[in-house]
Symmetry: D3
Subunit: 225 residues, 6 copies
């Protein structure tokens, strides 16, 4: 926050079950302790959450990637937002580095859902004020949110990593034409040529059609979603 | 619908994975076939739904109790509602005979969620126009819904069953004082005395405190939630 | 607020006509004066409110139990919230120790309203950010609110009062089986036995069916809603 | 409805307590019976409503002017809309010929409410789909509604009445400069001159400043709100 | 803000293309610089906006009268609000001294829009928290906003200007009976007589019907919208 | 609509100023006349719309591509939806074959708007029930709408056109790597090879980086957005 003004109350970090280690790293880096939260799963599979400390007026960040088990983690995230909101937090930011259902972002067939939008709506309705994520499958998913959405990217970290490796004979390959642009940008940053794999998806099945560009005998960095 | 007027378009029944047998029974009783729906769970655990037939302008009933696996079934219900809504259905009724998270219906401790309200909001936001359920844990849950909510009860079926059994030495026992009234009404209907078990819950633990009323040597019908 | 941070601006107290004496007591206890508010009822029965001081950016608490005259007080509460919101208050908390229409909290008959939910919605729509109440008829009413809702209870005050009285021959009686649990908890706190009155309501009429438990010759504390 | 198509289900008329006689006249004119509704006011002043017949899928018109007792009638209207909505009506039209709080339609002083907007919001939130009223204090109030709003006017009825009376020496006087245009239109329709009374309102007090135009010895029709 | 408390973060001023000179005057008067904003209009007429500085947590005021080119300026205002909201501003106030479409504020004919309400809704949906305007065509437009709306008036500035001019033979004329009251108030403040022009509008055409009051040989101040 | 059931009332077609010829073609193809609509632009640039015929209960389709003049046409579309909604239409479908601002669909730079989402929200808030468009810039834009959105595509028409032309020496070139997949699908349908142009956009400027694939001496079909 600019100039040391703290307009949303004291910072508070809460970790869901998604990736507690990540949450502990963030907590350590920020030197802000994680709040005590008791997460219980009853024998009837119902998730129950109780915050052990007050979040009244605080600026709460809930860290919960929606990784496996996906549906459990989505529900836990939503219940946690509801808990924090009803406890009169000052502001709630959902920090979801991995966004499940991100591929279900358009109706490319008739009579299918747009689940990535549904999840965005549910996060807003549960009570989040802001959303923070990382390298979305498609940038348009930001527009699914009515609340402000910040997307950070691992792009600079990844390029630096490969540049330092000094791999001599590199080619960047897009695993699907949908990432052609992403792969090209990555290749430009590495000073490497780019190639494209062509595939077609049929439900859960995928058919590979070939590769455009020269990959023979090269070290390949594959860009996938 | 009164007088044969069909104002919401043709009836359409869809079954989720919750209880396909129940859906088939309803379909058979109504002589209305179940719609073909393809439900896929990808290796990344994402649920994907595609309706195989049009629901455009139809009066769609989605039959999906949120029984075990609870969080999966809740998510599947929401995604199915989204699918049907985006396919331009005329009206959508979510039929959820078993309502998960119904016990999480009040803040009886500080800093806990009201998940039963959260689920109600999500069903509305996903796009259901009406909600149909059965014997809610607390009648107030109807008020959690902004959409009309109809609650049917198995009370007459159950009382008739026990009356026909002609059990001579019967007592109706409420497993918890929270169901004292329900147990009393049941006992009145059966012409039997009523008794009350006292218990206290601590998180997932429960402590029994005793029984008020005479149950010694009697056949007990236990009323629980 | 923790650590003296005031994130919602200066505290401001406003009293409606519901219970000005209560508002004055709160004001005296907090050492925060009540804002000047001019409440006019025109000959056409329309309520008109004008705040005599600015509430711009302030953390406003409106104290208005919806006691008799009930419908007048509900309308005055809503109009007052609208007034304060349009005057650009920073945050608005409706303090409603007595919540009218609380018994109308479920559809226990066909084609009846859930007025307790309607009132909750109207308080939210008028512009309250938070709701503060006391000993609700049913805890689930908290879930009727989309805004955070805090419920305080007179339970500790009441138990202390009776414990200090040292009444020797006490029994706690639930006036209705719906309060069986509340009465039991009260009895436990007082170290007294509990009994239950059975009644049935028919519209405005009530039929008493008897008492379960021993009350003969005892001093009775009646737990009613 | 054009061409006899009935797309909202069968017509149903319901009367509140506001003006049952008006409702009976409408019912007689349309040859559609009024639905049986049981309206109870409990000793605690709570209004309770139960519809005695189904409105499922029907095209319901609720007739309830918000005349005296104003706040009671507003609350009864809202509760009735909630009742009808939760009973799964097909469409709900609130028919409110007299609209209370219509003068409270702007912030002409600092820190006052816009109650006419608040009422419009509450009617929408309670669940009305459409609003029907008559000769609003200001046409802009239609814009307060998010739902479609139809305003009918008694203007043609009133002008015909006075034209048939053939009053020889007529002048139309606006009781306030705010109705100058309305009075002028009325005078034009009657072929009579127009005059304007000047007044200023101070809270409930009104100060008259004089009359612009010639009224001496004439028969006056006063146009007021 | 009272007492120097800054609860919404640092002030930030942004100017749209509507009236940059006005924005610069406000900036100079407040001694707060205007934020750098890059507004691009692509060859396909799409407006694109990029803020060159952070507005995170700031109390942002967007200065954009919706003057000519009207539809461009309305769209630019909405896009600018969206930009600022998605950049996580603390609070957003739309400052719109001239409000386009203000005359389209009621359905005085069948089947016409209420565009002034539509604009108000769009400003709210785009993400403004508060609205600031000047001398609205009708005060009721304030009620079209769900967000707080402050209306300032040039009335004292204008009256002082004419009082200092000491024009001897003055009359204030309402250009339309709809402004009769406004003209009268202006005349009272100037100690001058008032007169009224009568006109009727037919779509874009206007027919003048005459003047009520004495204007012959006088200096006229015309009050129009 | 399946089986001739008309559940939304009679069909009604309305054309905005965007592309009246297209509207007339649709009207002729459907043998449904266009409704008379009077669109006036006042000297103050305000758009005013009046429907000349009733749309009460009708199933209204508004045909308005948001082509040049873009901002005018967007505003006209929104005002037309508002007009139709307030005239109590049964259902409103906005038919927008060309969707302006579609490229502004993600925050690929900090502090930019997502105007494609803003437009989607405004169409919903103005009152459309359904949205119909064609070949969106990105399929995800469908997810920006809360109302059902149908996207039709010219893909089969275009491929048939080129197949019938029997161009011997064809290559399909994506004008930007973002359309790599679209171009590939088009090439597959035509049995032609595919190539990719690499470009980078900087605000309104574009820098071309080269072409991947063989285009020398071939007839090129360029796939652009």
């Amino acid at each position: 926050m600019e100039k040391g003004v703290r307009i949303y109350g004291e910072l508070a970090l809460i970790s869901g079950s998604g990736n507690p280690e990540l949450a502990r790293s963030i907590s350590a880096a920020l030197k802000v302790p994680l709040l005590d939260v008791q997460i219980t799963v009853f024998p009837n599979e119902n998730i129950f959450i109780q915050l052990q400390q007050s979040v009244r007026s605080k600026d709460v960040f809930i860290i919960q990637p929606t990784c496996s088990p996906v549906n459990y983690n989505v529900m836990e995230l939503l219940i946690m937002i509801d808990t924090v909101r009803r406890a009169s937090a000052g502001r709630i930011t959902a920090v979801v580095p991995f966004y499940a259902y991100a591929r279900s972002d358009k109706k490319d067939k008739p009579r299918v859902p747009i689940t990535a939008k549904l999840i965005a709506d549910m996060i807003g309705v549960a009570g989040a004020d802001r959303f923070l994520t990382m390298d979305l499958h498609a940038g348009q998913i930001q527009g699914f949110f009515n609340i402000p959405c910040d997307e950070v990217t691992a792009f600079p970290l990844l390029t630096r990593y490969f540049i330092l490796k000094k791999i001599p004979n590199l080619v960047v390959v897009a695993a699907d034409l949908g990432f052609a642009k992403k792969a090209r940008n990555f290749a430009l940053a590495l000073g490497a040529p780019v190639a494209f794999a062509e595939k077609r998806r049929n439900g859960p099945e995928t058919e590979y059609l070939g590769i455009i560009g020269d990959v023979k005998g090269k070290d390949v960095i594959l860009v996938d979603d």
